[in-house]
């Protein structure tokens, strides 16, 4: 099981990501995405699902029409680990067309 990141480690890792922030209430890192419509949002979710399945690490996420909210936490470890930073990095690499 990976170790949870310290506050400093987590802050440093977040600086290397694109628009992710720490959600203290969820003890997770999170990012909210907005797309042109539902089809674009679900296409993004499908790509994320494949990445998640391949990496064996899955998001907590929700969708309402063109909006997708992702929270990443390593439940077994009880917080944010390198697995979450890695998944966020791979999601960013999709370069999703986010309008807001």
């Amino acid at each position: 099981m990976p170790d949870t990141l310290s506050d400093d480690q987590r802050s440093e890792a977040l600086e290397g990501l694109d628009g992710w922030s720490y959600d203290a209430a969820a003890n997770a890192i999170g990012k909210d995405f907005r797309f042109e419509d539902f089809g674009a949002a679900f296409a993004f979710m499908t790509r994320v699902a494949l990445i998640a399945e391949k990496s064996g690490h899955h998001p907590d996420w929700s969708n309402v029409y063109n909006r997708v909210s992702i929270r990443l936490s390593t439940h077994d470890a009880g917080g944010v680990t390198d697995k979450d930073i890695g998944l966020a990095t791979r999601i960013d690499a999709l370069d999703p067309q986010v309008s807001a």
Copy 2:
């Protein structure tokens, strides 16, 4: 825009569905699904996404690994309408393999 259902109409409609209940806080009807794993959960979500897109009515939903939580409400109408009952009926028709 469809009219919202009265309490009686909504209760009667829920009786015709499989395991859906009224979520007063969300002013929506909801059902929680549990699958064998993430792949099964996302396969179900993909089928629901296609149904939603075809019907022009979309769910508010979230996923954590093998669990999918769906809430249906007609935002423009400010509550539960026949559009939500229709979408719930079509989701039930998928006969998803829910373990709990």
